[in-house]
């Protein structure tokens, strides 16, 4: 996987959160979700400071050209919108 294709960390998390929000709200509702993902992470410097890029590996097999895989554990829970402001 090339570095150019790797997303900023907030985009990865945003997509995970989007996926959870899309769950049906009728009937039983999930109140918390935990993810434990393998990720390839790098840090990119720029005028606005360091930016962490993290994305799931695209391939199952690893080669000498791939970065070592780390892990990202994310625990999210529901919150009233007013409280999240």
């Amino acid at each position: 996987m090339t570095d150019a294709a790797r997303r900023p960390l907030e985009d990865l998390i945003g997509e995970l959160l989007d996926g959870v929000t899309a769950l049906p709200a009728a009937g039983l509702r999930a109140t918390s979700v935990e993810f434990d993902l393998p990720v390839e992470a790098t840090v990119e410097t720029g005028p606005a400071g360091p930016m962490v890029r993290a994305d799931v590996p695209r391939t199952r097999t690893r080669t000498w050209f791939d970065r070592p895989v780390g892990r990202l554990s994310l625990h999210i829970g529901t919150l009233p919108v007013e409280e999240a402001r």
Partner: protein
């Protein structure tokens, strides 16, 4: 890319970057819930990252370099972030007032702060010039210098600059038509910030001569210049060591009439003025 170039970043800068990016993710989620009129949203409770990296200690500063392809035996950094509540922030942080949308960002200080220094100040919530002034008023600039690794003399220099008068605009009261302008009642309006210090206006000089200040507010001065002080160098001084100097030109627009017979009909005024 740092992992490939071998350049490392300070651990605290890395942690701040992650915090900032998590805040961005959460803010996006909240906005989405508000726009979709959802009663509930999902919020990040905890997040942990196992990052394979190499650690370097450079002059007492811990720096990390994410492991690249084929790097052997990297260190595994286990970073855990958790949501903290507003009372916890208030209990543990240096209290400072909330940013006002009218306040001036640190970038307005120009080259006084390089991007890295500005980022370190922003990392502790100092995003505006007013916040910088607040540090000085509270007498905590030394602590802030230590936390942000800004040298004390550099911070003092920036604070001095931040509290100097800042001028956004100079304009002249009165008609543009020079024939109707009473030169004895000409007024210059100087708009900006920090124009009062301790309730007193700065000493104002234009073209090397003092000018009377007839009205003074923190964001506006009204000056009574002589007729030959409507252009030139203006200097506003609270502290003789740090004057604010600017060039301006508010002289009445003079019509420029070309000589007859040169092929042009009539003349034209500067800036669209009438001949």
């Amino acid at each position: 890319m740092i992992g490939e170039t071998g350049e490392a970043v300070a651990l605290e800068d890395f942690i701040q970057a992650v915090q900032s990016q998590l805040d961005t993710a959460q803010a996006r989620m909240t906005l989405k819930a508000q726009n979709d009129r959802l009663p509930l949203t999902f919020a990040i409770r905890d997040i942990s990252m196992d990052l394979k990296a190499h650690l370097e200690l450079n002059q007492g500063e811990l720096r990390i370099r994410p492991a690249g392809p084929s790097d052997k035996d990297p260190t595994v950094l286990h970073l855990v972030f958790t949501a903290i509540t507003k009372p916890m922030i208030e209990e543990n942080a240096v209290p400072m007032s909330v940013d006002d949308k009218n306040e001036v960002p640190l970038s307005a200080l120009g080259d006084e702060l390089d991007p890295a220094e500005r980022r370190r100040l922003e990392g502790i919530g100092v995003r505006t010039v007013e916040k910088l002034n607040e540090l000085e008023r509270r007498g905590i600039s030394g602590s802030v210098g230590r936390i942000t690794r800004l040298p004390v003399d550099k911070l003092e220099q920036v604070l001095a600059r931040a509290s100097r008068p800042m001028v956004d605009d100079v304009s002249r009261d009165g008609s543009e038509d020079t024939d109707q302008t009473d030169e004895l009642r000409q007024r210059l309006r100087v708009k900006g910030r920090n124009l009062l210090r301790g309730g007193m206006p700065p000493q104002v000089m234009i073209a090397g001569r003092p000018v009377n200040v007839v009205q003074a507010h923190d964001n506006e001065l009204v000056l009574a210049p002589d007729h030959d002080q409507l252009a030139g160098q203006m200097s506003l001084t609270h502290d003789p060591r740090a004057p604010t100097e600017l060039w301006f030109d508010q002289q009445p627009r003079r019509a420029f009439v070309q000589p007859a017979g040169n092929g042009h009909a009539g003349g034209y005024g500067l800036d669209g003025g009438q001949p």
